[in-house]
């Protein structure tokens, strides 16, 4: 069974989130289909208690084994070097594929968390993943690729595709990890792993993440960026209007998004007609549409940007001679 373990709450100790925000963050991660949440002791202390009504399991990152007794009630405890005790997971940093062989030292452990391997994709990663499993034949392996080379989400997905079943991620890739939302969507599309039908709660999760961390999500950030379903190019806008599946990888509604046609330098006739209908402007004659397109190109090129709704309406009225 595939398990996604989100580690965001191990990376935000310095941000001083409120108790309510943390409980809400856990609830939203649960709703989008994360299977487990790893947190740090300071975050747990801020939360005061673990939410009980959720499906998700909780892991605690500890420094020494004795802390397990102090902070009871977690499903698993992760630390740098654990004994063979049930419920404890050893976290091992592997920075180079030549270190994979050293994993044999840990072959008696029940569960092992492997962190690192940022550049695994530079090699025969499928073979190296087999070597990891061979080195730890009896262990449950939690794979936590790091993102120094922008390939962590791809590696996490490939771990699952190649038969692994547990990956560690973080929301928006916080703390140099695979991005939870990218792994969720990619597994949905690549191996039909659908723990939840809908992922609309990613939108609330994104806002809450920004509130907690102060991080502004890039507008083009995969899955959660606010501009990713905006389309301007004529050929794409036309294709999407005919059928969204033509140019969209998945239905934007799944992640709480919506397609939006933007008018700009690369717009085509169909987009003009569509926007005229949307803004309830009289539909221009075909020859006028060509004139409108020319004017849009000219204005957008000079201004180095697309047009706002008001600018578009004004431009159409001017070109067509409509009264205000």
């Amino acid at each position: 069974m595939i398990k996604i373990i989100d580690t965001t709450l191990t990376t935000i100790d310095n941000h001083l989130p409120s108790k309510d925000d943390l409980h809400n963050f856990c609830r939203l991660l649960d709703k989008v289909g994360v299977d487990a949440i790893e947190m740090s002791i300071p975050i747990y202390q801020r939360m005061e208690y673990l939410p009980e009504e959720l499906r998700v399991k909780f892991y605690l990152r500890i420094e020494v084994q004795a802390e397990k007794l102090k902070y009871g009630g977690f499903y698993r405890y992760i630390l740098h070097h654990a004994d063979c005790e049930i419920g404890m997971i050893s976290k091992i940093q592997i920075n180079d594929i030549r270190e994979i062989i050293s994993l044999r030292t840990y072959k008696n452990l029940e569960e092992v968390c492997i962190v690192g391997l940022d550049d695994l994709l530079c090699y025969n990663y499928e073979q190296e993943m087999i070597e990891i499993k061979k080195a730890l034949p009896k262990s449950q392996i939690l794979f936590c690729p790091e993102n120094t080379y922008g390939c962590a989400s791809a590696l996490a997905v490939q771990w699952v595709v190649s038969g692994g079943n547990q990956v560690m991620t973080s929301f928006a890739g916080h703390g140099n990890k695979a991005a939870t939302e990218e792994v969720l969507l990619a597994l949905r599309l690549a191996v039909r792993h659908k723990p939840n039908k809908e992922l609309q709660d990613l939108k609330d999760l994104t806002h809450l993440y920004s509130k907690i961390t102060g991080e502004v999500i890039a507008k083009k950030k995969p899955i959660i960026g606010e501009d990713i379903f905006k389309v301007e190019a004529g050929i794409h806008a036309d294709g999407i209007v005919k059928n969204p599946v033509n140019y969209e990888p998945y239905d934007p509604k799944i992640v709480g998004g919506k397609t939006e046609i933007i008018i700009g330098k690369h717009s085509g006739k169909k987009a003009i007609l569509l926007k005229c209908t949307e803004y309830q402007i009289r539909i221009p004659e075909e020859y006028m549409v060509d004139q409108i397109l020319l004017k849009i190109q000219e204005v957008c090129t000079m201004e180095r940007r697309s047009l706002s709704k008001e600018e578009f309406i004004q431009l159409v009225k001017e070109v067509c001679g409509y009264e205000n």
Binding site: L121, A154, I223, N243, I262, R304, R305
Partner: protein
């Protein structure tokens, strides 16, 4: 010794198509000059059928380049190809839809129509004395058998490169590897990989495409492009420079990005 790979930069075509970006002719010329200085193998300078301003920009880019080949993008329409020839580029790239979604649902045509149309367009371009590359649009959702047939047919027709476009950005590394490898095994036409970043895997997929035999990798500055963008030039070089040799370093790309940031990021 590291294997050499070539970068095709599509900042001025696929990148500029992204909403909120609109470049003036002088902006396009500036970006092209910087890419040329980086010795990018090919600069996709624009789409001639957009209009006069675009064609003027392309003409200036061609006039000024010193190192890079300049290509233009054309739809699979003879009139568009003729318009492209008029710009006198080094390469005309013609986009041909290959997935059933695009052929049957979007265009309401069939495979024979696609084959006939692309051959006609290639013939027009070849008569114009220009090198032709063909892009398999939506290759990630296409039937591999159909793509192999198309590639073999286009190889005979004199097409110099096949671009595999992950138009909707749904590839994963293993799937990218499989598609490139399979095509590579069946044809001698060099392969170019063009991916989008919808699942945050553009750099990884491009690298797997290169490992499977793709000679050309499409990138854009800052990774700008439709939806979540294209393969980020800097990020791709950073990820793969340990195993492949390129004409430029990531530091040089970084310098170029600093100079054009105000034009490409809103």
């Amino acid at each position: 010794m590291k294997i050499k790979k070539a970068i095709v930069d599509t900042t001025l075509r696929d990148g500029e198509q992204s909403p909120y970006i609109a470049l003036r002719p002088e902006d396009k010329l500036k970006i092209a000059s910087l890419l040329d200085r980086l010795k990018v193998y090919e600069i996709e300078a624009g789409t001639p059928c957009i209009g006069r301003l675009e064609r003027d920009s392309i003409a200036k880019i061609i006039e000024n380049r010193k190192h890079s080949l300049i290509s233009v993008w054309s739809r699979m329409r003879k009139e568009d190809v003729r318009e492209s020839i008029a710009c006198s580029p080094d390469i005309i790239h013609i986009g041909a839809p290959v997935s059933y979604v695009q052929i049957y649902h979007k265009l309401k045509k069939n495979k024979s129509w696609v084959q006939k149309s692309i051959l006609e367009c290639v013939e027009v371009a070849k008569k114009g004395g220009v090198k032709v590359t063909v892009g398999f649009e939506d290759a990630s959702r296409a039937d591999i058998g159909f793509m192999i047939n198309m590639a073999m047919m286009l190889e005979k027709a004199g097409v110099t490169t096949i671009r595999l476009a992950d138009t909707v950005g749904v590839l994963t590394p293993n799937r990218t590897h499989e598609i490139v490898k399979e095509l590579h095994e069946h044809t001698r036409v060099p392969i170019e990989i063009h991916v989008h970043n919808d699942l945050g895997m553009a750099a990884a997929n491009s690298m797997e495409g290169a490992k499977a035999g793709a000679e050309y990798i499409d990138c854009t500055l800052f990774g700008i492009g439709e939806r979540s963008g294209n393969c980020n030039f800097y990020q791709y070089i950073k990820a793969s420079e340990a195993i492949f040799e390129y004409a430029m370093t990531k530091q040089q790309i970084n310098e170029v990005e600093k100079e054009v940031k105000h034009l490409l990021l809103h």
